[in-house]
Symmetry: none
């Protein structure tokens, strides 16, 4: 048999089944609409229980990769979903695209105690110091964003790197860390004293607040970034399809 499951492996059976199913899904015949082996048979083939197999199938159904229909069986969803291939650009690249030349008004790199959010995201102890980079950037005549980045110890930054280089290039080339996934949260808020000061605006001014959780290929956290943008200086664009 081509696909099989290792009952002695520490990897849960349903997880193994899931990967096998993904391989099946990738096959051309199933892509073309062939119905997959039914649950009872498949369970027998893999020598796992139907319930366990269903755990795996369920996940893929949730993800939208498979569709099930009573009596009709299970097959690969015909959709061609995807919404991604979003722009993955560094800040300076993004700005360049808009014809804006960026200047660093401030650039500090320090070792700092992480706050609760950072420790939770990095899954480290609260007393473990992390590298923190702060910068204020903007057009030549006015600053319009304050950034703070925290880097996971795993990345291996010393603080002596040249942070004027594009960040993701630096991580990739000097530290073999490849950022592949980012989760962002965007909201609005009023400027407090600290931010008002950095961005040279009155306290209470509207600010676009952006949090970024950046992961590497293994979905391990590598960077936590927060950005405070002066209103009207920044527009966040997204494209999504269904």
């Amino acid at each position: 048999m081509r696909y099989s499951i290792d009952h002695k492996s520490p990897i849960p059976l349903h997880a193994q089944a899931e990967t096998l199913l993904r391989q099946l899904i990738a096959e051309e015949e199933y892509q073309n609409g062939k119905i997959m082996p039914n649950e009872i048979e498949l369970a027998k083939m893999l020598a796992i229980s139907r319930s366990t197999l269903r755990q795996a199938i369920n996940k893929l159904v949730f993800e939208g990769l498979l569709v099930r229909k009573k009596r009709m069986g299970t097959k690969v969803a015909q959709a061609g979903v995807s919404s991604k291939s979003n722009n993955w650009l560094s800040f300076s690249q993004e700005m360049k695209l808009r014809g804006i030349t960026i200047r660093n008004f401030e650039l500090h790199v320090t070792w700092a105690m992480p706050n609760a959010e950072v420790t939770r995201f990095f899954e480290i102890k609260p007393d473990k110091q992390v590298l923190k980079m702060e910068r204020v950037r903007g057009k030549t005549d006015e600053p319009f964003v304050y950034f703070a980045s925290y880097f996971h110890p795993r990345v291996g930054l010393t603080g002596d790197e040249d942070f004027k280089r594009p960040l993701y290039e630096l991580l990739e080339h000097e530290h073999s860390v490849i950022a592949t996934l980012s989760k962002e949260e965007i909201s609005a808020m009023a400027a407090d004293k600290f931010i008002a000061d950095k961005l040279r605006v009155p306290i209470g001014s509207p600010i676009l607040f952006r949090k970024r959780f950046v992961f590497d290929q293994g979905e391990r956290p590598i960077e936590f970034n927060i950005g405070y943008y002066k209103a009207d200086s920044f527009v966040y664009t997204v494209e999504s399809t269904r």
Copy 2:
């Protein structure tokens, strides 16, 4: 007991459990991080088996509403109100998912002259009237967003439709218009008199401003939507990979 399950109902027990869980999630104490009753107890309380209950929990975990940790229990995921760019859901569906009941504070449908941005997007003559829908929505006790939507004449809306229904369902079922692509722009701004009034906030308050350009399958424009969200009431989340 406040929550209970009807074993004789034709609705599957796990589905009933799911709605109950959503109600629980909506409760303030759980929003604030209180751990939910453990599976065994909860199953006993609802008089269903643990497996059935887990079916319901699994779904919510997958949706990202709950997080589970061994030994530590299950609690509501901290994120606030959010919008996932991938899932294509209507506003009310999104809110429902989070157990928030949405109230329409205002709902006006009128024929209006399009502004420059709308005529450009729709590629219509400036004197061609378009259907405009305005609404103020929010939690039962406070409004937190003002929306204005413009619909392309091609869609064929008359203005007599029931706009309390989920919008994309309405378009799809009654007018065979399927929204498949949306381009969004998100930025921050200060509330002007009009918005301050609608959202019951002081003039100058920070507002999250969101423009949406919605297209159908043929990439033809069908809706232009702008939304003004009270700060802190809305977090926009995006996931991107490369």
